[in-house]
């Protein structure tokens, strides 16, 4: 007989997880409920989060963004500050499923389910997010790059749950993007997903750039491809407009190449490994251009001979 617990605090929730081994946290249920009903999962009980006050709140401040266990994709994607400061995450949340799924599904559930295709995982990887895990033993911080072990597997221990995801504030003029390649525009998971976050100084030089990929490795993959972009002059400010420097195209092509080399795609029902490998540079280049566009709002001046 399936148990259902509705604790009133995170502390009480981790108590139930410890005392009733085999129980799992139930967040939006969009992964758990269909899996259970299709007989793909046996659990002892669900630990619901709906009795915990404030468990769906998002906080945005000088320290960055705090995502809580019941923060839905819809809540994140309807927050104007998230669009302005962490665009890769906003685009990733907006790309999940449909309105009906985004109103239920949570960002924390998305990373805990640990699908290599998880849209928000790659965005969070580019943003240097920190996963806060809570158990009866206390709280520990896990950099998201160390969170995923394999398809469906994370470093969370039995009795542990995620109590928050913290996303640091932008490190300069920020831009970001999430480009998802899938046969359908909605209700489909990524054949290839590319997340990019990049930050410029006010002179248009790249302070930092990170590129992560979905659906091309056993885990959501933070690549080293940003190294091709960091330190490079990408644009020059001219009273309110930005002049694109020559060479940006080549810099982005090089980053796309590095990202492709980092991936180890497989063939499955959605796509062949070859198709995925061919699409990675396409998705990465698109994401880089979109991110650059968002980091340099206003008009772009493109001189003759510069390839955009």
């Amino acid at each position: 007989m399936l148990e259902y617990h509705r604790p009133a605090s995170v502390e009480e929730a981790v108590g139930v997880l410890a005392g009733r081994p085999g129980s799992v946290v139930l967040a939006g249920g969009t992964d758990l409920v269909p899996a259970y009903r299709a007989g793909r999962q046996s659990v002892r009980g669900y630990v619901s989060l709906r009795g915990i006050p404030g468990v769906g709140e998002l906080s945005v401040g000088a320290d960055g963004l705090v995502i809580r266990p019941l923060s839905t994709h819809a809540a994140v994607a309807s927050h104007p500050e998230v669009w302005a400061r962490w665009p890769a995450l906003a685009w990733a949340c907006q790309s999940v499923g449909s309105v009906q799924v985004r109103n239920l599904g949570t960002v924390v559930g998305n990373i805990c389910h640990a699908s290599p295709a998880a849209d928000t995982a790659s965005a969070l990887l580019t943003l240097g997010a920190v996963v806060e895990a809570r158990s009866l033993q206390g709280t520990r911080d896990i950099p998201i790059a160390e969170f995923f072990l394999g398809s469906g597997r994370t470093v969370l221990q039995p009795g542990e749950m995620v109590s928050a995801i913290r996303v640091p504030p932008p490190a300069g003029l920020g831009g970001g993007a999430y480009v998802k390649i899938s046969p359908r525009r909605a209700m489909d998971i990524a054949v290839v997903g590319a997340a990019v976050s990049l930050w410029l100084d006010e002179n248009g030089r790249c302070l930092d750039c990170r590129v992560a990929l979905a659906s091309v490795a056993p885990v959501p993959l933070l690549t080293g491809a940003g190294a091709a972009v960091v330190g490079q002059q990408l644009a020059l400010p001219h009273d309110g407009t930005w002049e694109l420097v020559s060479g940006v195209h080549d810099i982005f092509a090089q980053a796309a190449q590095l990202a492709t080399e980092a991936a180890s795609p497989i063939s499955d029902v959605r796509a062949s490994a070859d198709y995925r490998r061919a699409m990675i540079p396409v998705a990465v280049r698109r994401a880089l251009w979109q991110a650059l566009g968002r980091a340099t709002p206003g008009e772009w001046v493109i001189r003759e001979g510069v390839q955009a």
């Binding site: 249920g29 969009t30 269909p34 259970y36 309807s78 309105v99 009906q100």
Partner: protein
């Protein structure tokens, strides 16, 4: 282990004993006999089971009924009232936006949530709002046209008033539409 929950469905309160394995969709159809909400896939993929939970469209096959305890649910049965069909229902009829009709209740609920929050949607916004509702018959064009028409018809006969945002994460520009019957429809995004 059965649990007593309270659901307010189309403004009527129900107390139901449910097993924690049962979905909101099952409870609506089998316990409350509200069979207007359809089961297509039972896996979150088709949108036929769309209902509004505290004003937000969700797939009721993905929600355990116990999770919705204390919540306000709107189903297609709640759209019409003693004065007649809802503007959206009239528009669907006029435009021939239903063929077999299986997707229609879900389409109507998604469209209602859209118009409750955004009385003047663009075609793109309509298509995004309905992207989680599959239709095997109509080709969608007539459905989109019907929603657009309903929005225009409602704009012609409504006063819109700004309402305070109730819940973190709601669209800041969320509005309550006060319709011609002079009452705010449920599902203005406020958590009950």
């Amino acid at each position: 282990m059965s649990i007593e929950i309270t659901l307010t469905v189309n403004r009527r309160e129900y107390k139901v004993d449910v097993e924690p394995t049962r979905t909101l969709l099952q409870v609506l159809r089998d316990d409350l006999a509200l069979t207007g909400t359809k089961e297509g896939c039972d896996a979150g993929d088709c949108g036929a089971c769309t209902v509004l939970w505290d004003g937000r469209p969700v797939s009721s096959c993905l929600v355990l009924a116990v999770e919705a305890d204390g919540g306000h649910i709107e189903t297609v049965e709640g759209l019409a009232d003693e004065q007649g069909l809802h503007v959206l229902q009239e528009a669907f009829l006029e435009h021939g936006a239903a063929q077999c009709g299986f997707c229609t209740p879900g389409m109507l609920m998604s469209a209602k949530a859209l118009l409750d929050n955004n009385p003047h949607p663009s075609e793109g916004e309509i298509r995004t709002a309905l992207a989680g509702n599959l239709c095997r018959c109509t080709g969608y064009g007539k459905i989109v046209a019907a929603v657009k028409h309903a929005a225009e018809a409602m704009a012609a006969s409504t006063i819109t008033a700004l309402a305070p945002v109730a819940t973190a994460g709601d669209t800041p520009s969320e509005r309550v539409v006060v319709d011609h019957r002079g009452e705010a429809p449920e599902g203005d995004g406020a958590h009950g």
